[in-house]
Symmetry: C2
Subunit: 97 residues, 2 copies
DNA sequence: TTTACATATAGACGATTATCTATATAATGC
DNA sequence: GCATTATATAGATAATCGTCTATATGTAAA
């Protein structure tokens, strides 16, 4: 995944809200929809974009599909951007406890 | 500057090419135009977006205006994104020699 | 197998955006 | 002042994108 696609994937208010919601916990699509001001198809649309960008993981359980943000991929994308355009500045990843 | 505006500013192929060009050296608008496949007004347009996002510095010398990428701001934006959406991963900035 | 529920997809539509041409502004030299 | 060069701005246009409604797909329960 290149830096343009990465930045485009995260460069939308609705998607960032979704990212915040399923950043630290699994959420079903309905749960996401319930907390956003847009329709379910719109949420599904944005989830697809995030999925295609590798930014979220999905897991089906029964009728529901749970999404979680892929924090590693996100951080990797940030590092890629910094490496490419800010070579004089060093961004290091340290996994927290 | 919020993370949406930051991601939108860098989420364009033409702008990323400009960012690459004036990442490590000052370049005048004409010099940038010469290395890109778009017209001068288009380059000016993208420079304005990068300027508004604080991603480039400009310096007038005579008739020419020289642009440089603001690597610190860029790296800061990357960190902001990681902090907000990947709180379990720690991205630290280390200034290189 | 029908019904109900959860999610995805298709298609339409308005808004935003990237590009262009034409023109304005700014700086320099004659 | 006038001409020249460099950059910015205005306005038009086509393409992309985000949102909606309608509908299809998938899963589980009756």
């Amino acid at each position: 995944m290149n830096t343009v696609d990465f930045a485009k994937a995260i460069g939308d208010e609705t998607r960032q809200k979704i990212m915040s919601l399923c950043c630290c916990r699994q959420l079903s699509v309905s749960e996401i929809v319930a907390q956003m001001g847009v329709t379910q198809p719109t949420v599904s649309h944005h989830l697809k974009i995030l999925r295609d960008a590798g930014m979220v993981r999905m897991e089906r359980r029964g009728k529901e599909i749970y999404y979680t943000l892929n924090q590693e991929r996100l951080a990797q994308g940030c590092c890629r951007v910094a490496e490419e355009f800010a070579p004089d500045i060093d961004l290091k990843i340290d996994s927290k406890a």
